[in-house]
Amino acid sequence: MAIEDDVLVIGGGLAGATAALAAADQGGRVRLVSAKQSTLRHASGLIDVLGYTPSGEGPLSDPFAAIPDLPRGHPYERVGPDAVHEALDFFDAIAGDAYAGAGTESNALVMTFGGTVKPTARYPTATAAGLASDDRDALLVGFETLPDFDAPLSAAHLESAGVPFAVRGVTVRFPGLARDDAKLTRYAHLLDRDERVSAAGGSGAREALAATVEPHVAGASRVGFPAVLGDERADEVRADLADRLGAEVFEVPMGPPSLPGVRLEELLYDALSDAGVRVTTGVPVVDYEPDAEGAGRIDRVVVDRNGTDVPHRADQYVLATGGLVGKGVRSDRERVFEPIFDCHVPHPADRYDWFVDDAFGDQPYAKFGLPVDRDLRPLDATGDPEFANLRAAGAIVGGYDFAAEKSGAGVSLATGSVAGRGAGAEVNDR
């Protein structure tokens, strides 16, 4: 026999977790199977909904105003504008105090670690004081041992982007590290646990860091750090530093590995646990068996558990295995494909047509993914659903460039909640 559930969600990123939560909301028994850690750890933890139109207009201060004009096939067009709103409400309820931005329809502009600003709809509380659309003067602090973020250079770049506040940058040594190649989690752990750091006469890491930064604050009302300020106790770390510095403290979201991404993941997995979703991690779904009787249905999928095939069966399936980065979409020299169900992935036959010459041009590869119907069922080459009981959500859905539009998290939330709700409802109707 197989391990049985009502809804099986494949993929444990933002879309998969949202789908599982939305399905569980409908009352069924839901399992989420995730092969590896999701790409949440690559992402900034910001919830972008739509920052630019597909033709590049923006930054959009109101993402919702632009959604009705999106082209046919765009995931937001598939689910409809209301579903995007509902998905954000759903997220806001899950995130609670951990995220801000729900009080307005407008996008915020957030300082990025490259010194640019970007539009986003929801941001972690840790970043709330780091908006570029906030006019208070800021100090950015970088660390000598983290070459990714050069605070003085970022400050200079922000000024050339015309931000409405004065911003300075300073580079300091992070107290208490023995090696120059300590991992980001080490910085966070030192602060989380407020470990004694010998370099500063045995004071705690927070006090030592504040003492290092304090002379540079010079009247700035907010101080930004790269996103390493604690993990489990991030709020406490930030509050402690703010007290000591006499200024608000915020994090500038960083590239991979991203602690804000890790924290979002933890938040989602706590919610899954609270919702009674069964979570199986660390093992990939590698194959499926079609239903012997009803054509066009998936009977079960095969999970590869370190070389052993373990069957999992459900009534409804949600595929949220990610795009090219998450490897829900793969490619070789000849073709682009979806590896589990071999769903249709439209792409030019010649791989030299998968890209354009400008790195930031209109990149075809960025839009690779599955075409879906309005219920988010993947469609085959003739436009018919691949399977009656399979839905897709998140970056595996094609037809949009999340990087250019700044729409990745929003699409994952919208498609995840629509797919999960649809799957859960279908189980109930059965």
Partner: protein, 569 residues
């Protein structure tokens, strides 16, 4: 009439830099001009093979003999640029026995140490060779870093008083009747360092003698003085693998053909190559079939290549030349020998010689010959010392190897850094400042980046070729930002910004030829990082229209805003 310099060398490739070093060491006053950065032409676009001569042992024994001689010299004077990998000429069952015997005999005739290995012995050396390879000839091929070697020549020339001027494009030859007495250059745009003149300006540089060492571009220089130089540029593709599948140079032992060599190069393996004549060395098609041919044909020798990850491909143009009237149609049949064209003898125009043809391994011998010629023309009698004097970084290498120091780095990083820096390692890597790794793929630390920046200024592509930073599997996705950060605050924000964009686009260019599988996933991750997380694609600093910051959420209208310090904002 007073001249600016005694000798003016055109072209900053291996030949030009070699000539500059040679003449400077003989005490001459030398200026070298290069339109891009050093090695931008053919030198930076070769597979990095240090020939044993084995490849020419059947077809061109004179070249083969010269190769083995120079091979031995370079191992002595440029130890930190050379890795003595050894090489194999591998015979597959379908490859001709006759040729294998000829190759072996040819090696013997040219003084190239060679021995025959069974298929099993060859696979013991290189486990990823195909299971059915028949046998192999082992020769002392090596791998050489052309960037490092060329730069070392330039640095040494400078230390002997030469002026090395990059991003200075020759726009005209100065000619007085039948005498060429200098060039006019335009100092280039872009963030590269310029030792004297500002961007966009022109400068006349006069000289007693001009050496045209522009290789495949020699015809263009000649045309400026109505001289006809029949260069036959021929393009070849090279495909770079992400890791070294082999640690020995693998040659296919058959008469001739494309896609017959794999060269282990630093952390990568380079597959080569093709040979196809082009009309314009700056503009020729780079095509998919060429890349596919490298992978498909070479995986007959090393099957794992079929599934392995390539990180980019690049093309180079050989500066082939044959004397007028030879009429060879297939470029693979054109000699690899070099030619010294004295335009006084040849065309009745004095003051300039051109050097064409030739190959990287023998760059020093070519430089010696043309330097002798120049000295003769100028009546200078000092002789060449380049075969005996080690290049900077190669002094006392044996001492360095014995006392291998970790400089506080993890040992594989220390080893790779030391291999790149040679005897300069201590000077560069010993620092009291934090020295984090900036490029993780290649193990390049801040100290090494800073050393390169001090040589090149705000030109990240020049930093790249000196350090290998951004040449690993992420192709700069993660490290080009941190590399740019190292330029600040010496360079201002705008310069850093431009340098970053330039490196980012350059890295993308070569990667386009490797966009499938892992590298496509990597490219998407890079795109997401730079466009999504950093919004570099829509950077408001580049935009013409100003942003209305007031129209956006300022965080204070929030009902659910949490102030971590418990204060109300």
């Amino acid at each position: 009439m007073a001249r600016d310099t005694e000798v003016l060398v055109l072209g900053g490739g291996s030949t030009g830099c070699g000539i500059a070093r040679d003449l400077a060491m003989r005490g001459l006053e030398v200026t070298l001009v290069e339109r891009g950065t050093l090695t931008d032409g053919t030198t930076g676009r070769m597979h990095g093979l240090l020939h044993s001569g084995g490849r020419y042992a059947v077809s061109d024994q004179a070249s083969a003999t010269e190769c083995i001689e120079e091979n031995e010299i370079l191992r002595e004077i440029a130890g930190h640029c050379v890795e003595m990998t050894g090489g194999l000429f591998v015979q597959r069952p379908e490859d001709p026995d006759d040729y294998f015997r000829e190759k072996l005999a040819g090696c013997e005739a040219c003084g190239i140490p060679a021995r025959v290995l069974s298929g099993a012995q060859a696979r013991e050396i290189e486990p990823y060779l195909a299971a059915d390879v028949k046998r192999a000839i082992e020769v002392p091929d090596g791998a050489v870093d052309p960037f490092r070697l060329c730069v070392a020549n330039a640095i040494d020339a400078e230390s002997h008083g030469a002026r090395i001027e990059t991003r200075a494009e020759v726009i005209d030859l100065l000619r007085d009747g039948d005498d060429i007495y200098g060039v006019e250059v335009r100092h280039g745009s872009g963030p590269g360092t310029r030792t004297s003149e500002a961007t966009g300006t022109t400068e006349e540089i006069t000289a007693e003698y001009v050496v045209n060492a522009t290789g495949a571009w020699a015809g263009r220089i000649g045309a400026m003085a109505d001289l006809e130089i029949e260069v036959r540029p021929s393009k070849g593709v090279m495909t770079i693998m992400n890791v070294r599948q082999v640690d020995t140079v693998i040659n296919r032992c058959r008469p001739k053909g494309d896609a017959d060599i794999v060269v282990p190069h630093e952390t990568t393996a380079i597959l080569g190559t093709t040979d196809e004549e082009v009309s314009d060395p700056d503009d020729y098609p780079e095509e998919q079939w060429e890349v596919d041919q490298m992978i498909d044909t070479l995986s007959e020798l090393v099957p794992i290549l079929a599934e392995a990850r390539t990180i980019r491909s690049f093309w180079g143009v050989r500066p082939l030349y044959e004397p007028p009237g030879t009429g060879t149609t297939d470029p693979t049949d054109i000699t690899r020998d070099f030619f010294l064209l004295d335009h006084a003898d040849r065309d009745g125009v004095s003051g300039m010689s051109s050097i064409v043809g030739g190959k990287f391994t023998t760059y020093r011998a070519m430089a010696e010959e043309i330097s002798d010629h120049v000295c003769e023309a100028l009546g200078v009698s000092t002789s060449c010392t380049t075969a005996d004097e080690p290049l900077p970084g190669s002094e006392n290498l044996a001492v360095l190897e014995r006392g291998m120091d970790d400089f506080g780095l993890r040992s594989p990083i220390a080893r790779r850094s030391t291999q790149r820096l040679g005897s300069r390692s201590r000077e560069v890597l010993e620092t009291d400042e934090p020295n984090p790794v900036v490029c993780e793929c290649e193990g390049v630390t801040r100290a090494e980046i800073q050393d390169a920046v001090s040589q090149t200024g705000a030109d990240l592509n020049a930093v790249r070729i000196r350090t290998r930073a951004s040449m690993g599997n992420c192709q700069g996705g993660f490290c080009c930002g941190p590399m740019a950060n190292e330029l600040h605050p010496t360079s201002d924000e705008e310069t850093v910004h431009d340098a970053l964009d330039e490196l980012f686009q350059e890295r993308w260019k070569g990667q386009r030829h490797a966009l499938w599988g892992e590298q496509l996933s990597q490219a998407m991750l890079t795109y997401a990082l730079h466009a999504t997380t950093m919004n570099r694609d829509r950077d408001p600093a580049n935009a013409t229209a100003e942003i209305d910051f007031g129209a956006f959420d300022d965080g204070r209208a929030e009902s659910n805003r949490i102030d971590p310090a418990g204060r109300t904002p």
